[in-house]
């Protein structure tokens, strides 16, 4: 038992007991939920828990991974709201600027992010999903601005964002990765249109972004022209382990939704149901143990390529199994439509939870892409030959 870590744990736990909002699930609309997210982020910044992974020069920064883990464990334990709205800014934008941004860009944006500026990611497109390097959104250099035309898709909460991490094509010569450039785009710039995507369960967590002759100054380019693919790797490599651990813990913490539903429907002695509950419970425990082990390995510097993919697929499959079991227990009741809870994956609104679980098997690198990474990069199974043409 590490005394310093346990001290931090107590401190965070006490703070959360006094400060974590209890009513966040009651948000009736996505707008109300987002307003709550902004308040919650501000409170966490003031307490020094919002950006533990930033350098020590920032208030609340300079925390070790072990300390960050404690903070996220406690956030999950307290059933506090997840940090959804600020995730892209504090993790993706931060990592991008920190690794690849110039001094001027860091000085301009990092303080704003800490003050709650919201960012979104403009990577995916209708024709560039799993095959991200196929980005077509075009940027043409005219004087000291890039003129952007194209469409972006699946951008998390873009409708609330101030800035966008934008991956664009500046050249169609050579390898498709080589023609990409990375820009920081103002979401209020003329020519930017955002349209929320209506998801199957009624949420609007993602949006489409249409870009019509949008001007982005050259000074907003991260890295050199044509270096966008490498910069995007820095964005995508930013923390995922902590999130999966937190989500695993939240799923385990909500096992009681299932056991109560089983009791309420009079099936506490149904051997078939009990078996499936027992199996699921081991699966969920295994995911939590796996996420813990992943973070331990990262702390000990022995993380291997593909490890993150294993945790992600194990989590997303368990989440599917968790919610699918709920739908089964819920029976007809689960088929009656209810209002959804924003920002929560394990609500006991079973059909909504089940439909929401697809976000985890598809977004952030689909289950199939993760399997390719595991097979090809970790297990060194050979890639298929390139060059197929229709």
């Amino acid at each position: 038992m590490n005394i310093e870590l346990e001290k931090l744990r107590t401190e965070v736990r006490n703070w959360l007991a006094a400060n974590a909002p209890k009513d966040w699930r009651e948000a009736a609309t996505h707008d109300v939920f987002v307003a709550g997210q902004r308040d919650w982020f501000k409170k966490l910044v003031a307490a020094g828990y919002a950006i533990p992974h930033w350098p020590a020069a920032w208030p609340g920064g300079g925390r070790s991974l072990a300390e960050q883990k404690v903070i996220y464990e406690e956030l999950a334990r307290a059933d506090a709201p997840r940090l959804l709205l600020s995730f892209v800014s504090t993790y993706h934008a931060f990592a991008t600027l920190h690794e690849c941004g110039n001094d001027e860009q860091k000085a301009r944006y990092l303080p704003r992010i800490m003050e709650g500026e919201t960012w979104c990611q403009g990577f995916s497109e209708p024709g560039a999903g799993s095959d991200l390097a196929a980005v077509k959104c075009k940027a043409e250099l005219k004087g000291d601005v890039y003129v952007i035309n194209g469409q972006k898709l699946w951008s998390t909460m873009a409708q609330y964002a101030d800035k966008c991490l934008l991956l664009v094509r500046t050249s169609s010569e050579g390898a498709k990765q080589a023609g990409l450039t990375y820009l920081l785009m103002d979401m209020k710039a003329p020519g930017v249109t955002v349209r929320p995507i209506h998801q199957i369960q009624g949420d609007e967590e993602f949006a489409e972004i249409f870009l019509d002759n949008v001007e982005v100054p050259v000074s907003e380019r991260v890295g050199a022209e044509g270096a966008g693919w490498a910069v995007a790797q820095a964005t995508l490599a930013s923390e995922r382990g902590l999130t999966l651990m937190e989500l695993g813990y939240r799923m385990r913490g909500n096992m009681a939704l299932l056991t109560r539903a089983i009791s309420d429907t009079g099936r506490a002695n149904d051997a078939g149901i009990l078996r499936d509950l027992g199996r699921l419970s081991a699966q969920v425990d295994a995911v939590c143990a796996l996420a813990d082990q992943f973070l331990d390995n990262r702390m000990n510097g022995i993380e291997q390529v593909g490890d993150a993919s294993i945790v992600k697929n194990a989590y997303s499959r368990a989440l599917r199994a968790w919610s699918d079991f709920g739908v089964r227990i819920g029976g007809m009741d689960a088929q009656y439509r209810q209002g959804i809870t924003f920002g929560d994956l394990n609500t006991g609104n079973w059909m909504a939870d089940y439909m929401n679980s697809f976000a985890w098997t598809i977004a952030g690198g689909s289950e199939e892409v993760q399997r390719n990474i595991i097979a090809e990069r970790m297990l060194e199974m050979p890639r298929e030959p390139k060059g197929w043409t229709a």
Binding site: A256, L277, R371, M381, R383
Partner: protein, 311 residues
């Protein structure tokens, strides 16, 4: 406890060196001699009783490696007897067992009873030790283990009443944990062998490993194995309930059976031959599934435990 802080990888390296170099299903008596020489039978016995005072985690490492190499024999039974003898202060017999004198137990179908001097008889209200009076070999599909119908001679009572119940639960939990570890060791070896085979075997002018349909199956097996292994080491520490150990055993043996099944399928025709070792993993996997209570039983127990503890 030293066991908690032990360097797992160090112990793993020495166990892998001891069992990994003689090929799969190595010689039984040579393996038994190694287990004895390395002092692994005395691993979890308290130092005051002449043991090494290591924890459950260390025991898991050894059984993982025994499973990985498909080591034949009755190390599982031996360790259960040793645990019972240590817990009940039978120091003379304990010393003999730690030195390699074969002893067995009814908890895992009297493994190797024909060479055992004693049999540990475990029930909910009594734990007793007796000489083996007679034994009949019940030949199993798994040839790496030998199960017996055994009869016992005069019994010496080691524990009764509540003490017996508590010790019986501890022994059952230990059996479940050892079977889980053995299963994941075997599953790792089978999966590694399968991946190597897919890289070597060529059809349609390319290695089978290049086909995405097979890559995805293998990736899913790898995920299942890694998740099960994380759960194993998680339950290697602390005081999990018997139901939680049962859920672990069900989870790990089910993963082993699935991986062993896919090992045969992905090897194709050669997987059906005795010439190739795929069948050895399948047979041991299925025996592990059945020993110590099957997944149907333990998953139901785990479900009841969840109903009581996660409400």
């Amino acid at each position: 406890m030293d066991g908690m802080n032990m360097d797992r990888s160090e112990l793993k390296d020495s166990a892998r060196k001891a069992f990994g170099e003689a090929g799969l299903a190595p010689d039984k008596s040579a393996s038994w001699a190694k287990l004895t020489e390395m002092g692994w039978f005395m691993m979890t016995v308290p130092e005051a009783q002449g043991g090494l005072g290591m924890g459950r985690e260390a025991m898991g490492v050894i059984h993982y490696e025994l499973g990985r190499a498909l080591v034949p024999g009755s190390a599982i039974a031996q360790m259960l007897v040793i645990e019972a003898l240590a817990a009940t202060g039978q120091n003379d017999l304990l010393e003999r067992a730690m030195a390699g004198e074969v002893m067995t137990t009814n908890l895992c179908n009297a493994l190797d009873a024909d060479t055992a001097s004693h049999i540990l008889l475990v029930s909910d209200d009594s734990i007793a030790l007796a000489p083996v009076a007679s034994s009949t070999h019940r030949v199993t599909w798994d040839e790496t283990r030998r199960l017996f119908d055994a009869t016992a001679g005069e019994q010496t009572l080691l524990a009764s009443g509540a003490d017996a119940a508590a010790l019986a639960n501890r022994l059952r939990a230990q059996l479940l944990f050892m079977l889980a570890a053995d299963s994941l060791g075997g599953a790792e070896a089978a999966l590694t062998m399968t991946i190597e085979y897919l890289k070597t075997r060529r059809q349609f002018d390319r290695p089978l490993a290049m086909f995405q349909a097979l890559k995805h199956r293998v990736a899913d097996l790898k995920i299942a194995h890694r998740a099960a292994e994380a759960l194993l080491w998680d339950r290697a520490v602390g005081e999990p309930s018997l139901a939680e150990m049962g859920a672990l055993k069900a989870h790990c043996t089910t993963a082993y059976a699935r991986i062993a099944e896919e090992t045969i399928q992905l090897h194709g025709g050669i997987g059906l031959t005795q010439e190739y070792p795929c069948h050895l993993f399948l047979k041991r996997a299925f025996l592990n599934c059945a020993l110590g209570g099957d997944a149907d039983y333990w998953e139901e127990q785990a479900g009841r435990f969840a109903m009581e503890n996660l409400a």
